[in-house]
Amino acid sequence: MDTSLIVSNILNPPVLFFFLGMTAVLVKSDLEIPPPIPKLFSLYLLFAIGFKGGVELIKSGITQEVILTLAAAMLMACVVPIYTFFILKFKLDTYDSAAIAATYGSISAVTFITASAFLSELGIDYDGYMVAALALMESPAIIVGLILVNLFASEAGKQSERDFVWSEVLRDAFLNSSVFLLVGSLIIGFLTGEHGWQVLEPFTQGMFYGVLTFFLLDMGLVAARRIKDLQKTGIFLISFAILIPIVNAVIGLVIAWFIEMPKGDALLFSVLCASASYIAVPAAMRLTVPEANPSLYVSTALAVTFPFNIIVGIPIYLYGINLFWS
């Protein structure tokens, strides 16, 4: 396989700073980005990507392509947690399986953003409405995960089932801060269009790459700190956390090929399928499935799948696209 894409991905500042963060933890440097700075960066990134998506959505309009793409996104967000749940059930109990499945059904916005920065670097276009797909894919897995728990939990589990209120769950799923800010910025971008874009451009565009780089430095620190948790996780989950993203990316690519997405969109779509949530879903799972062990679902998503996608996943998926699209 042609490794030049991987190398050119790795030699980007964001990926190198991700490595730097991991290295800091490994050599026990006291480097840290103190809270709430990472929170600020992640709010900024959601704001900027959402706004940009909205501005571009108004240019492209809501065409049939857009609707097909969004439908595909919804489909994957619902199917992935179901099929992974049954794989996980071989080794884990219902609660852990459902929580991990939900994690992998949802997405990681930072992985998406890194992939879009990678595309920009290579000069490959992508459509603004992929941000809408991003927003759409964040929540359904939470609902699917809970339904799975309700269906498969033992008697003892049924007790806790009575405890959570669906209205709260739906709010956590659809109005949590990431989804809310992303969708809100998208709508505002849509409403203000080209004019809004121009006044905000130095902020949302100029600083974007730099903030992403800084943020990935922090993600490197965070991911590396979680690595020690992987011992408890076991080889099964670690393999799961590498293989399932590849499988999901491939499914994503096949769907993208069928509905004739352009190259850039196809990459972003497969990255969405391949990525796993380490913020929104874990928060929701802790509240609604407290029986599941957070270090399992957080650490696999954060310490294995996230670095895998950032470092080798994104260029590999693009390599696949280059093979089939041409």
């Binding site: 709430p36 922090d218 948790d229």
Partner: protein, 103 residues
């Protein structure tokens, strides 16, 4: 000076709203909340204050001794379900015109 009870709760930040509700229901309307508390418990290893939002809160509430029973009854199910720790001790309140436990 007047004897009151001090309740200290350390729990994950997502439980905060539920904890404050429980306190309120038990008639304890005053409280103080310190956020961004790192920690290590039995359940899930170290909580690094990272993007995963697994940080803790430290809640302090002073209450009249006779409110304690109700607080414990309301808080315990939360701790049983979500984890977290709760401790009670005796303190003397310095009474002021606007003092808390006396009302």
């Amino acid at each position: 000076m007047h004897l009151v009870k001090k309740i200290e709760i350390i729990a994950n930040s997502f439980e905060l709203a539920k904890i404050l509700d429980s306190l309120d229901k038990s008639g304890v309307h005053g409280h103080a909340v310190i956020r961004n508390v790192a920690g290590k418990g039995l359940r899930d290893g170290a909580e690094d204050l990272d993007m995963t939002m697994l940080d803790n809160v430290y809640v302090i509430a002073f209450c009249m001794p006779d409110q304690l029973k109700s607080v414990v009854e309301n808080i315990r199910p939360l701790l049983n379900k979500f984890g977290g720790t709760c401790y009670v001790s005796d303190v003397m309140e310095i009474r002021s015109v606007k003092c808390v436990a006396s009302l």
